[in-house]
Amino acid sequence: MIYIISLVLVYSIAAVGLDILMGYSGQVCFGQAGFVAVGAYTTAFLVKNGFSYWVSLPIGGIVAALTGLMIGLPAIRIRGHYLALATMSFAYIIHLILVHWESVTGGPRGLIAARPSWPFSFEKDKYFYFVIIFIVIPLFIVARNIVKSKYGRAFLAIQKDEIVSKSMGINLTIYKTLAFIVCSFYAGVAGGLYGPLIGFLDPLSFTILDSALYIMMIVLGGRGTLVGAFIGAAFFAILPEVLREAKKWQELAFGLTFICFLIFMPNGVMGFIRRYQVSFVEKIREMEFLRHYFEEK
């Protein structure tokens, strides 16, 4: 149970990062699993070579952020499905590196990701859970700060109208790249937490399909809402558990449920809620108006 919640939190921090990139700055990215992998493997590799986990985790995030910078800069001029394809290629290349650079990544056999042992051993699930909580919650708050600040406004502006944004003084190069850096940093941290949570890293967990899963999380929960990222992450972490018995049917259920969501709730759960909120509020106003009207008479 604790394990599931931990998994939800880890997924959701990667999803939140992606939401800032896709939901706010509007740049499609099919490479999130690649950034998560960079963070995960960097952290695990450093720990394996004697560095403290508490140092390795931030470094993992920073290395992932640098990768994000590398991808973000050329991505500035690419949009829409071309950007989707480009970021997909990035994810695939990372996957290939994970499989073939055996000396560092352990190749298909994978890499062990140890939990921190200082100041005491965090081996137990419920101890590591607190590590996750203490990292994820502040990051979530920071994400909210960013999104509510001039940076969040700038991201949204860029998404909706690049030309007008320029005239408002928003430097597209800087902001678009910044969105990538934030997203990949969050992904990297998520990766650094994911590794020890699962216990080992395996290239098969970091494919284009996994990148797509993160996108599905924010689409399902509602793009551009941050909370939606959490909802989507919860869904995708919990579903396999619910279907644990019928493991064969898992993927089929995944795909079908997702398509149903897309068709009936295209703005995600949060979008659906907000729309209901609006029409609910309107109905109340209408009732108030009618009541006053009849009372006048």
Binding site: V142, N145, I146, S149, K150, Y151, R153, A154, L156, A157, Q159, K160, D161, I163, V164, S165, K166, S167, M168, G169, I170, N171, L172, L178, G224
Partner: protein, 272 residues
């Protein structure tokens, strides 16, 4: 068709000077050696039939387009060396014909985007909500509310901007351009979509900006009531060329201007 000038070119004091501006789009000269000069504290209007190149001129000045030839000098600085996102830093702001408000933001937030370049709070300050960014946000909120008050829309501050009727959206766009207290305000058809009452209020507002705050205003407009009513000076474009320039009285009586608006069928713009 070139008009021999009956006035000195550039009778302005050179606050904004546009010299020999030319740009080609798809084989046609959208602007052909356009010259004009705007005096500080003046309301300068550009008029002309549709497709004359008026908005194009604005887009080149605000650096959204790169001209093929010509110079633009603003307060002794060559504007062509400046990027589009640096224009607002030069104290030049603008509105857009189709407004361009951002859908995900409230009215207030939209106006606050106009202050994006003001205030130096950095990324980490904003991310960690440190004092500098908190103060900057509070200051921006106040400035934005005051800008909204100027256009009488302070009650709509928390509405989603794109839910407002078009006329009000235009006013929000105006507030967004005003909030940075620009020295040069560029307005692209500010009156279109406004009711006659709102147009009158707009004219008053623009006049007050010039008289009370000394803002220089460059205006593209179709509504002759506005143009004739508030302009100090008017330039007329047709097919990318300036065919007349003068004060409202001169322009009103200029036969070439009337002819341009009525339109002769054989005339087309120059090919590139």
């Amino acid at each position: 068709m070139h008009l021999p000038s009956t006035h000195e070119e550039g009778s302005g004091n050179g606050f904004l000077q546009v010299r020999n501006l030319s740009i080609c789009f798809g084989g046609l000269k959208a602007l052909n050696k356009v010259n004009f000069s705007v005096t500080e504290g003046q309301i300068f209007s550009i008029i002309g039939p549709n497709g004359a190149g008026k908005t194009t001129a604005l887009n080149v000045i605000t650096r959204l387009y790169e001209p093929d030839d010509g110079e633009i000098v603003f307060r002794e600085e060559e504007l062509l060396k400046v990027r589009a996102d640096q224009i607002i830093g030069k104290r030049i702001s603008r509105t857009f014909q189709n407004v361009g408000l951002f859908p995900g933001l409230t009215t207030l937030e939209n106006v606050m985007v106009g202050l994006h370049s003001s205030g130096g709070a950095g990324f980490f300050s904003s991310a960690l909500k440190l004092k500098a960014s908190r103060e900057e946000e509070a200051w921006k909120r106040i400035q934005a509310m005051e800008a909204l008050k100027l256009v009488n829309l302070e009650d709509q501050a928390s509405e989603v901007a794109t839910d407002l009727p078009f006329g009000q959206q235009k006013l929000v766009g105006l507030a967004r351009a005003l909030v940075s207290k620009p020295l040069l305000l560029i307005l692209d058809e500010p009156a279109s979509g406004l009711s006659p009452l709102e147009v009158g209020q707009l004219m008053d507002l623009i006049r007050r900006l010039r008289d009370e705050k000394g803002t220089t205003i460059l205006l593209v407009e179709h509504d002759m009531r506005v143009v004739m009513g508030i302009s100090n000076r008017i330039a007329v474009l047709n097919f990318g060329e300036k065919i007349a320039e003068g004060n409202p009285g001169e322009i009103r009586n200029n036969p070439l201007v009337v002819e341009a608006y009525l339109g002769e069928e054989e005339e087309t713009g120059q090919a590139c």
